[in-house]
Amino acid sequence: MTFDEAKLHILNRAQTRGIGAEVVGQRQRELTARAHTGRLEQLTQAVQGGVGVRVVVGGRVGYAYSEELSPAALDWMLDEAIENASLQREATGFLPAGSSLGRQDLVGDAFAAPLEAKVQAALGFEGTLREDARVKQVMLAAYSERVWDVSVASTEGADGSYRRGIAGMGGSIVMQEGTSLKQGWDRRWVTDLGMLDPGRTALEFTERTGRLLGARPLATGRYPAYFEPRAFAHLLFAFWSMWSGKAVMEGKSRLAGRLGERVAAPIVTLIDDPTISGGLGTRPFDAEGVATRPQTLVEDGVLRGFLTNSETARALDLENTGHASRNYRGTLSVAPSNLYVRAGTGFKPKRGVIITEVTGVHAGASAITGQFSLQALGLWVEGGEVAYPVENFAVAGDFLTLLQNISGLGDALEWELVWGGVACGAPLVGVAELSFAGA
């Protein structure tokens, strides 16, 4: 069965049984070419996908999904979803009224190039990485592209699909100078092949990792901190759910009930904009078929909004911002798209630590408590100049306190694809003082 046939099959069965149903379908195409020592090492080509259903039976909600699109599998899926719904006691669930959304193609011929050209991109990228004498090993060097066909349809009239995609160069290198070893993991994603420059990206990678060679221990202390844009993007993603309507609804956000209050320094404005042309997280409508639009979360330091879907908007008495997320295997949630801290007027670090990278974010940061303690790498700055790289330390603090203490914002925004369909952007972010644990 094709996705369209599967969708009709499910919606027809649901209508016959008198229940509400919403189907999301996803079909993903992957191409990855990995190069090693001047040769193609691994080529992955694939198509994969499935359908997921959310049913509402007398106000009770259940979910199920299937990657097998046979009538038997789809009927199993619907039966399971209905049984799952019967576990709910509360009967307040609903599907939003939908509309016809048509078919939108955000990809076009953005990735139209022969396979051989893409393999050459991987080989060129890997070759340039190896040109730097300090590169001891290239552990991974790849060209990768992914294109998703996403569809939503419901018994409430939602019906639409879109196609989005990304391509990028990425990998990992081990660099050595004397006894000092550093491993860099890096990637650059774009929405159009024309924006890729394998050679230049490779030089950026070796520059970013190479500058950390010869790092010295950092003495434990409190210092001014300057997060490079991509490091701050990862930190922002660790804490974005403080602005999730779902987290607010479930008592997991310290920002709950604080709309209109000052939660950050006055220079801070935080926006999620799913409509940015060419954005890595751009999408025309959300997982419930609600058209997307930009949403300001913090404006000049003041809390202005949360990201919502139909369920959280109703529960919190807020507008639905069109941030529903659900892939076919998942359940209804809320997610950002292109989430960014607006660039400022620029500043120059004087003394303290430039944090070039934070790692272990999944284990060392909690959006519920707001606290973080993260392994980091960086550069010590003295008298406005980078003095030497520093290592083997952790930086700790409270994210809401950090927001209040932001002392400067750089004038250039950089983006990082942090997870699935979410991109986070930030300029250089200066923080008055943070706690550093080291030697």
């Binding site: 299937s66 090993q137 434990t220 303690s373 952790a394 644990a437 030697a439």
Partner: protein
């Protein structure tokens, strides 16, 4: 799941295109998840995942593709895509012409569940999760309790052009309980997790109420705790999930994924002393009902018990098929993948530090000031530099050999090879705990384990 004729046909297409080895991996998952929040079933979901991955070896070059169209046409199209770049250059020997004589190996049921999922209705699960809920509410400050039950049933088939036909079945159950304690603007969390290769007997072996209480009490302790101290100090690591330190600091450094490319600081060191002599480190894919156990790996090789480090000396790496091809090391049944959308790589299974002889109490003797890290979150490592980190969820200050006030968790950071040499003593109370590990071949169930362990110095990422 597929007929021999179709499998043989697909494999022979790979061989005809010049591949030295063609491997087809087919799997079907049935998964169920239930999340209960504050007494209400928030989301219940069920799923079928079904797909195949075809891998062709041309020397050490790999072509990999996957699909969930498992019809003859779908699989032939996959084979055609993968071989297109090569053309039909290979010679097909008699074995590869479609008449493959498969040697069948099927699972013996070593990790089969005692209480299969169909034994109990869904409402039974809800009722058991509600036990966690009420037990977690140990104090009025507990504002939110969330419990989550995951049930996985996975059937796998691995066939290759050498004639292997291997069927395995893996059943896993995992229960998480999370509690949030709140006092004004302050919020803290408590967590308890158990998971094994079992069915619903998990809920009898680890009663949800006990996990609930553990999560609730931990959240309250964290609410009243001060931030952890900052700096370099001696650390006593708790047993069970404390083993995450070795998973990060050494485990990943011993996978051929990094070792084969000499992108691990522990490459080319077999027979050398890489750790303190009190450290013996084992990766065992055969532990009965272990969270990371299976009878076969995802390349069709039997799993085994691999001694990685014995009394401080490096004895073996974790080796998958491709890793063996690149390094010449003996394969260890360590080829694993999240699902058919990933080509396998070498990965950990159930990895633990063997018990020592010291009593737990003795570990604290003589520590003037240090940290007792009792419960943990996950971590991360860069094998090429050995720089690792892992998060602590529950901790206490050690003063003059005594465990004193609770402090909030912090990240511990270090360099793997240095930390391995700084292991001073290993106690005798080995325990294991389930985790999810992310790497090149996706996110996988792995067990970590250790007795209480004393490390002479680690950077504790607290606050000053």
């Amino acid at each position: 799941m597929l007929s021999d004729t179709l499998v043989a046909d697909i494999l022979s297409r790979g061989r005809a295109a010049g591949a030295d080895l063609a491997e087809l991996y087919v799997e079907r998952w049935k998964r169920r998840n239930l999340r209960v929040l504050n007494g209400e079933a928030k989301e219940a979901t069920s799923g079928l995942e079904y797909g195949a991955g075809l891998r062709l070896f041309y020397g050490t070059e790999i072509a990999y593709g996957y699909t969930n169209d498992l019809t003859a046409e779908g699989l032939r199209e996959l084979a055609a895509t993968l071989t297109a770049r090569r053309g039909q250059t290979g010679r097909v020997d008699a074995k590869g012409r479609g008449g493959l004589d498969f040697r069948r190996s099927t699972a013996q049921g070593l990790h089969d569940p005692e209480v299969p999922f169909e034994t109990h209705p869904k409402r039974y699960r809800l009722e058991r999760l509600l036990e966690a809920e009420s037990a977690a509410r140990v104090a009025p400050e507990i504002t939110q309790v969330e419990s989550h039950l995951a049930e996985w049933e996975q059937e796998t088939l691995v066939c290759n052009s050498e004639g292997a036909w291997v069927e395995d079945r893996r059943v896993r159950t995992r229960l998480n309980v999370n509690a949030i304690a709140q006092d004004g603007p302050q919020m803290q969390t408590g967590v308890a997790v158990r998971g094994l290769s079992v069915g619903l007997e998990l809920l009898d072996r680890f009663p949800p109420a006990a996990l609930g209480r553990q999560a609730g009490e931990q959240a309250i302790r964290n609410l009243r705790a001060r931030p952890a101290p900052a700096g370099t100090m001696p650390v006593v690591l708790g047993n069970g999930f404390g083993g995450v330190i070795f998973h990060e600091a050494v485990g990943h450094l011993l996978e051929t994924t990094s070792v084969a490319k000499k992108a691990s600081v522990l490459s080319d060191m077999l027979g050398e002393e890489v750790a303190s002599p009190v450290v013996t480190y084992i990766d065992d894919g055969t532990t009965p009902h272990g969270w990371g156990s299976s009878e076969f790996d995802d390349e069709g090789a039997r799993t085994e018990r691999t001694v990685l480090i014995e009394n401080g000396v490096l004895r073996s790496y974790m080796v998958d098929r491709w890793g063996a091809l690149l390094t010449g090391y003996r394969p260890t049944g360590s080829g694993r993948r999240q699902d058919y959308t990933f080509a396998p790589t070498s990965r950990m299974r159930n990895t633990f530090i063997t018990p020592g002889t010291v009593s737990v109490e003795r570990l604290f003797d003589g520590i003037e000031f240090g940290l007792y890290a009792k419960e943990f979150r996950g971590g991360q490592v860069k094998p090429g530099s050995g720089e690792y980190n892992f998060g602590v969820q529950e901790a206490y200050v050690i003063r003059n050999g005594r465990v004193e006030e609770a402090v909030r968790g912090a990240m511990l950071v270090g360099k793997g090879p240095e930390t391995l040499k700084r292991v001073v003593a290993v106690a005798s109370d080995l325990e294991t705990a389930p985790g999810m590990c992310g790497s090149l071949s996706g996110s996988l169930p792995v067990e970590v384990g250790q007795p209480h362990v004393l490390v002479s110095e680690i950077v504790v990422g607290g606050e000053i």
